[in-house]
Amino acid sequence: MKATADLDHEDTPKLSIEKGEKNMTDAITIHQLTKTYLSGTVALKGITFSIKAGEFFALLGPNGAGKTTAINIITGLANKTGGDALLFGKDVVKDYREARALVGLVPQEFNVDQFEKVSKVLYFNGGYFGLSRPERFNRIGRLLKDLSLEEKRDTKFRELSGGMKRKLLIARALIHDPPILILDEPTAGVDVETRRFLWDYFRQLNRQGKTILLTTHYIEEAEELCQRIAVINKGEIVALDKKQNLLALLERETMTLHLKRKIGRIPKQLQKYHPQEQDAIITIEYNPQKEEAQEILDAIQAAKLPLLKIETSRTTLEDVFLHLTKK
């Protein structure tokens, strides 16, 4: 089911916000989920969304928006105040055993016993999720190989590099081969090479059928990996749609004209495009669906500006994110 919510901004087209429903085919169903901490802080104000099985889904929001609270409720690290959270139809409170077995969490913090060896961390966690010893050894071998951690098998957690620690958190979340994987800032603090490696690995897991919920500060990461994106701000979902549709929200391009010298006034041929002038730079924002770049270029030529160079840029997901969360 889809509904539209009109955000009160003249430049913003209608946003589509999907309403989640309790659906057995959904991997994650969040319905009117609320959370008020004992301090009185309202972290979630009744959020509703659902993630289909096999989807790669991003939950974006500024610090304190409620992302981690939502994840913590889903995984059993926080108690909800109201509403429902279901994993493949299993309630995370009433059917907590079944629900928890369906999900693996990669947390933002390194929440591992600092003195435990890599293989032991995985061995015990596999046990917590009910895997027999042979199953554990089998999964440990496979995950250490997949994540290039084989040589670190007997290394204590505290002696690993930042990137290796991230990889171990991912291996730990996957030890029981859950159908749902939740990634909370999974590439924070890793180098570019490792980040690319992990992105490929996440895509591979998604292709194999895992449903992935990602929260990240790297908007580029969400843009790169996810099919649908929800933006959460101050405990509310302010946008939820396919990546392309969200980008279309701010379907704008910017033409930047670098001049040889400051001209002091905007030529009349350009005035209808409401350009901004600062020093010797003029910027023109336009909607490519309404105005053609050629038309603007013709106007620039007619104005006979002392041009040095012209640059154009498109809206990024980051622009959309900032636009939505600054309200």
């Binding site: 591992v112 032991k120 966690n125 917590y128």
Partner: protein, 253 residues
């Protein structure tokens, strides 16, 4: 029921203290030997028999209880607090294990450590002062319930504590003074009336006294009182742990 999860958690808790056995199992035995040498041999030689037994024989049960109390409490309080501090408590909070399975795993490890320490102190003491086991069921009852009681107390403190100092507050300001004043080194019948009455409000007295009865057959308090006091206290701390874990006190937001 996730029996494998429970067993894995128990294995992890046991391996946690076994991998540093030099810090967890040996020090209480050395401390007890020092007490035997100082109080038993050196000063104790000038003290007449207490309740019909030698002073050395009199202090051994108290030393065993003291070692077991500190071991059980240290194990569970440090495990819970360090897991909270490092965040790895979340490993089993997100796993399909119930809160009572978590409590049971923590408790089994703490009781095992206390039992290993208690039996080691008994064995070493026997070398200094041979004794016969007076009443094995009573002896075992006090070893088990005292370990359970302080395992639960340790879990509760580990949950409650927000910093390492708070973990130590309970042991420094409550357990240690009450243990030393709990009849480990003297019989309360030798105290003036006021102090012997006051000593009866000290719960550790009943553990030491009951265990002493089981080991050497000497007691200041009727053993049935001691059996009941220890049982009630253990039950109270168990209920506290269950309530706090069920609510996720200081571990689930």
């Amino acid at each position: 029921m996730n029996l494998t999860g429970f067993l894995a958690l128990t294995e992890r808790e046991i391996s946690r203290f076994l991998r540093v056995w030099q810090q967890t199992l040996i020090p209480p035995v050395i401390t007890s030997v020092l007490f035997i040498l100082i109080f038993g041999y050196s000063l104790g030689s000038r003290i007449r028999d207490v309740g019909g037994v030698s002073y050395l024989e009199f202090i051994v049960p108290g030393l065993v209880m003291m070692g077991m109390i500190i071991s059980a409490y240290s194990n569970s309080s440090s495990s819970v607090y360090i897991s909270k501090f490092q965040g790895n408590i979340q490993e089993y909070l997100v796993a399909p294990v119930s809160y009572w399975q978590i409590i049971l795993a923590l408790t089994i490890a703490a009781v095992l450590r206390a039992m290993l320490v208690g039996i080691s102190i008994l064995a070493v003491s026997y070398w200094f002062v041979p004794f016969s086991l007076h009443h094995v069921p009573v002896l075992f009852y006090f070893m088990l319930l005292t370990s359970l009681l302080f395992a639960f107390a340790g879990i509760a403190t580990g949950l409650w504590a927000s910093n390492w100092d708070q973990v130590n507050v309970f042991s420094t300001f409550i357990i240690t003074p009450l243990t030393y004043l709990g009849g480990v080194f003297y019989s309360i019948s030798s105290l003036p009336l006021f102090w012997s009455t006051a000593a009866k409000f000290n719960p550790i007295l009943y553990m030491v006294d009951g265990f002493r009865y089981g080991l050497i057959g000497v007691a200041d308090v009727p053993v049935v009182y001691s059996l009941m006091v220890v049982f009630v206290l253990t039950a109270l701390f168990f209920i506290l742990c269950v309530q706090w874990f069920r609510k996720g006190y200081k571990i689930r937001a």
